[in-house]
Symmetry: C2
Subunit: 425 residues, 2 copies
């Protein structure tokens, strides 16, 4: 894509509309635009990044047999009354429609997915079954000041699994937990993300959160020394839980745990029959007996992940995207002045597109090189391809890595080779 | 994908929950599931079809320089008051949030896109600019009885263009109109879709609707004899408009126009300054003068298109999808009984996947061939690959076209060749 056509505009100055670092950077780099607190529009760069994150999730969903569906977010009050959550969730947006009909605007989807999926389940042969979706969800957040961390409207990937037994749920749950960690690693935040024990509700001892360390986070976690495991604030005072979770626990040990601020980038939950119960979702087992379906749910917030990566991986020059979720993998920067030089870069652009480079092309004529570099750093595309003096004279390009700052000289053929090798990693 | 794992279930019998043919068929074939009138969940087959339609739209959007963005559907009342539409749109869902704050749930997006895009426009050099999105939209429909034709929550592709002059809008508008018709042709409803004149509002003589003929449609159009052009009911009595639109118009001529029921599958609108005015969206022109930005909007409803194709192209056996929007292009149907036969088909499946066939594989062991064929016809996948007696003995497959019923015998190598040729068409 040509940068001269791209719908975006970067800002050098601090944006006084945004208090959080992630929204500050994403706004200045032309990724998002604030409509009001907690409600953003995604510009092409932001939409591409979000899309990369969501497509990466889709790839991982397949590995746990998730099938993509799309459920409505406008949901009749009846299903929310059935589970008793109509009056319990204080961030639930409620709408009155024609005919005095009440609706909820979905903050989570158990009330719809449970009757939807189990409608098609009658026998143990229909189990296990997993469906997922990626869509906008809604929470009536009283304070939305952390950019993409806490929004009124946000992106959500929710996966739901249905099982014939607790054992089957348990092993599936472990698989999803492992898969989640791989996803965060791909997003560049794996090292800072902790598998965190949280309270489990009526049907499980614990649920688990994936918490990424950042001072901008709204949660506090307690890290088990020398591990990637942590405990949430809500159960840190529960001695029984500590004895259960912490190897060789001794009284007061938790006081030595490192206490850190973090943002929750995912959570997984064993629901048991919490929702299949109210909806009478049963199946006939091998032994001919009618039993309730056992259920799990798993959530990643793609827009919050985007905000977290912006918050955690950025530096003083701007955003730093890992290749798998960058808006573009490559940024071709033209330093052409003469017409013959422009023609050379145009030809290069054509060849890179033919070689399937995921490429933004800074073709702007009236912008100085220094400004182009600064803007590229702010946007955070992983690799610059600089077509400057050297290229016009010798055909050699300068390849610069955004994260490390390392540069290499190579010609087009070598670059294509280099990109291929990189892709296979 | 293996059919034995697919989340779906077909129904042979008439579904008494659904009165419209499109919802009847899509429900029976396992594409959609009704939550309540006008609100559906999309199962994997339905989601895939919708996705194919939306990705086809994305390809066309690029041809008119549309850049994909994502705007919120939860919108503060203020922007709707600004354009005077808060109290004028009777299908607008209104929500009250924390702090007594009023929101609209977007049925259309001018109130957000106008300040969003024009915020980045200051000079004629920033124009023209086009952005689009594909997302769920909402209308508080008092009656929702036509399946996917009229939903409370539905998919929408909305494109918005911004121009420095009326002439530039006019020529862009014509390009979009032409592009829309190509899209409907790809969806198999081109022949039945009419470019229909409708009233234009304060800033244009006419707007245009794309109307597809079907007795299930809720609109009535009047076709100009021998053309693909029609006139909407709302302006058929407007003599001045008729004189303007109909070549060599003579009084009463409209009485001879064919009157047909149709469903609106798209509409395009020259907005002029209807929305840029209230938002003070101006730019500085070449001559240094400050002028209001000129705007157009263009909409296709992907879910309604899906319903229209289901309604119009189906036959007494079920759905008939054109290849470009089918949930799968190919349906491999195994008639294996012996283990050795199953192994042969499994090997074939592997080879077809390696050759990138977009393929559903009916690998079910306990379902009779006749039932597999009937189910395939109901689902409407364009091409069956039947691995039966002949295949086990000679390696020859039977390829059957869903729309025509034509069958051909060919071996795997020929099939791969045949698919490639088909794809290039």
């Amino acid at each position: 894509m040509r940068q001269s056509n791209l719908f975006y505009k970067t800002q050098k100055e601090f944006n006084n509309q945004e208090l959080s670092k992630n929204a500050q950077l994403l706004t200045r780099a032309g990724f998002i635009h604030k409509l009001m607190g907690g409600i953003y529009s995604y510009m092409p760069l932001g939409y591409r990044t979000l899309n990369k994150i969501e497509n990466l999730i889709r790839q991982y969903m397949v590995t746990v047999n998730g099938q993509e569906v799309m459920m409505p977010v406008l949901q009749p009050a009846e299903v929310w009354h059935k589970t008793g959550r109509w009056d319990k969730i204080d961030v639930l947006y409620k709408i009155k429609g024609h005919g005095d009909k009440d609706y909820a605007l979905s903050p989570t989807n158990e009330e719809v997915v449970t009757p939807f999926v189990t409608n098609f389940i009658s026998s143990y042969k229909d189990l296990p079954m997993s469906v997922f979706q990626i869509q906008n969800k809604f929470r009536d957040e009283p304070r939305s000041k952390s950019g993409l961390f806490r929004c009124k409207e946000f992106r959500m990937n929710d996966l739901y699994s249905f099982h014939a037994s607790q054992e089957d749920l348990d092993s599936y749950y472990d698989k999803v937990a492992e898969m989640y960690m791989k996803f965060y690693t791909d997003c560049g935040i794996g090292d800072e993300t902790y598998f965190t024990y949280a309270s489990g509700g009526a049907f499980a001892k614990y649920s688990h959160e994936f918490q990424t360390l950042t001072d901008a986070g709204e949660d506090t976690i307690f890290i088990l020394p020398g591990t990637k495991i942590a405990i949430n604030r809500e159960i840190i005072d529960d001695k029984a839980a500590l004895r259960d979770i912490v190897p060789n626990y001794t009284d007061g040990m938790e006081n030595s745990f490192e206490q850190r601020r973090a943002v929750e980038v995912g959570n997984i939950f064993k629901l048991g029959t919490r929702f299949t119960g109210p909806f009478n979702a049963n199946f006939v087992d091998k032994d001919g007996q009618t039993k309730p379906v056992i259920m799990g749910c798993y959530g990643i917030g793609p827009s919050r992940v985007m905000g977290t990566v912006a918050e955690c991986l950025s530096d003083d020059k701007g955003l730093v995207w890992p290749e798998k979720i960058a808006p573009f993998e490559w940024h071709l920067i033209s330093l052409a002045i003469k017409d013959s030089e422009t023609a050379q870069v145009e030809d290069l652009y054509r060849q890179l597109r033919d070689a399937n480079f995921d490429l933004l092309y800074d073709d702007r004529q009236n912008v100085r090189g220094g400004n182009k570099f600064a803007e590229s750093d702010l946007i955070g595309i992983p690799n610059k391809i600089i077509a400057g003096r050297n290229f016009f004279n010798t055909g050699n390009l300068e390849i610069q890595n955004r994260a490390t700052g390392n540069t290499q000289q190579m010609n087009l053929a070598d670059l294509i080779q280099f990109a291929r090798k990189n892709k296979c990693k």
